[in-house]
Symmetry: C2
Subunit: 199 residues, 2 copies
DNA sequence: TGTACATCAGTGAACGCGCGTTCACTGATGTAC
DNA sequence: TGTACATCAGTGAACGCGCGTTCACTGATGTAC
């Protein structure tokens, strides 16, 4: 799957970069074989040599950016000692990632991502295990400590990431939301929704 | 746009129903002209007579179901007196809508919906004005009363609907979440995140 | 009530276009001896 | 260090398929007089 010669890696890089650029400009319908080859300057045959199909290329692109996002989130968590600072850091990390990589953000919210999550849930979890294990572990520790409410993990995930994704999608699609304000306000309110304390 | 003879309405109904059914079974790529005509039994020419294009049909389908969802949410709100019961009712209404109409839920979360929201934000707001005005009014009233935190409306919307959409998407795509548990747990936790009270 | 006529609704063959993919081939790279 | 060779990487013409759309036409409906 991965190139065994140096020039191969450069080609793969050119293709993935061009694909993301196109996705940012044109959306899903911009990701055609001819558009990607033209934008990257790489030949049609090379694309097929490295990715096998256009879906293979898109899957690889998704994986690459999912790994980067998860990597940043794990890093943010590892710097946090309490559950509260951790949750707040997650929220801020996600928002700044999307601000910095809007096209990647769009991609990760797209139906391609859903399709990948559906078709290859197991494979995805294997591939991203290095990222997901620390996340799950951190969560479990703070649930055990009684700081985070003992809900099913998907519910906790939705409570934390749901509003962040909502704001991100809106910022990307409509633009009528202030990311700075969101980064100021959301972390504490989201923390409230998953903490054990309170009302 | 809308049919001027009775039999026209029936045809439109057949087409929209078939399209939703296909979308539920096959996803976006199932929504082709030939698939819709075959599944509906309606001729190709009739489809173009009523909708002008396949995108026109999909847009109409989206509008129809968006209106139904918003309608149910407005109804739920009108039955609620306090901000807390209102927010909780919104959450539960959304979840039961998705449970009852999974294909429509998928459609409303799709990139088609984003595209519509982006391209026609203004037109959408005009078309759905009858639904959106009561929602915005309800929100403003309870912000004024000091029950709901005075945040920008898109942020409030994300805090309330974000987790619900997150859970719905996950239920639709992966299925590893219990909607009953979500309906039990989420309303109160979401309420916490938007209420003025507390920590 | 009857008739003429404009409009609406429905039909399906035909078209062209752009898509993803294949394939036979050339050239570059790295390795074994 | 030199050479032979297997493998990897890159190339682009060609293909076929399914897509959305057009269009000339027939039939049904409703309305005016």
């Amino acid at each position: 799957m991965s190139p065994k010669q140096q020039r191969g890696e450069a080609t793969v890089e050119l293709l993935l970069d061009a694909a993301l650029r196109l996705y940012g400009q044109e959306g899903e319908q911009g990701l055609t074989v001819s558009a990607v080859t033209k934008a990257s300057g790489v030949s049609l045959g090379s694309l097929y040599h490295h990715f096998g199909s256009i879906d293979g290329l898109v899957d690889a692109l998704l994986m690459r950016w999912l790994e980067r996002l998860l990597g940043e989130m794990v890093t943010a968590l590892e710097r946090s000692r309490t559950a509260r600072t951790g949750v707040r850091a997650l929220v801020r990390t996600y928002l700044s990632f999307v601000r910095e990589h809007p096209a990647a953000g769009r991609l990760l919210h797209s139906s391609h991502a859903d399709r990948l999550g559906m078709a290859q849930a197991k494979q995805l979890r294997d591939t991203q295990e290095a990222r997901l294990t620390p996340l799950a572990g951190w969560l479990q520790r703070h649930v055990d400590k009684g700081e985070i409410a003992p809900l099913a993990p998907p519910l906790l995930e939705s409570l934390v990431l749901g509003p962040v994704i909502g704001v991100s999608r809106r910022w990307l699609a409509v633009g009528d939301v202030d990311l700075d304000e969101a980064a100021r306000v959301l972390p504490e309110r989201i923390w409230r929704s998953v903490s054990t304390d309170g009302a």
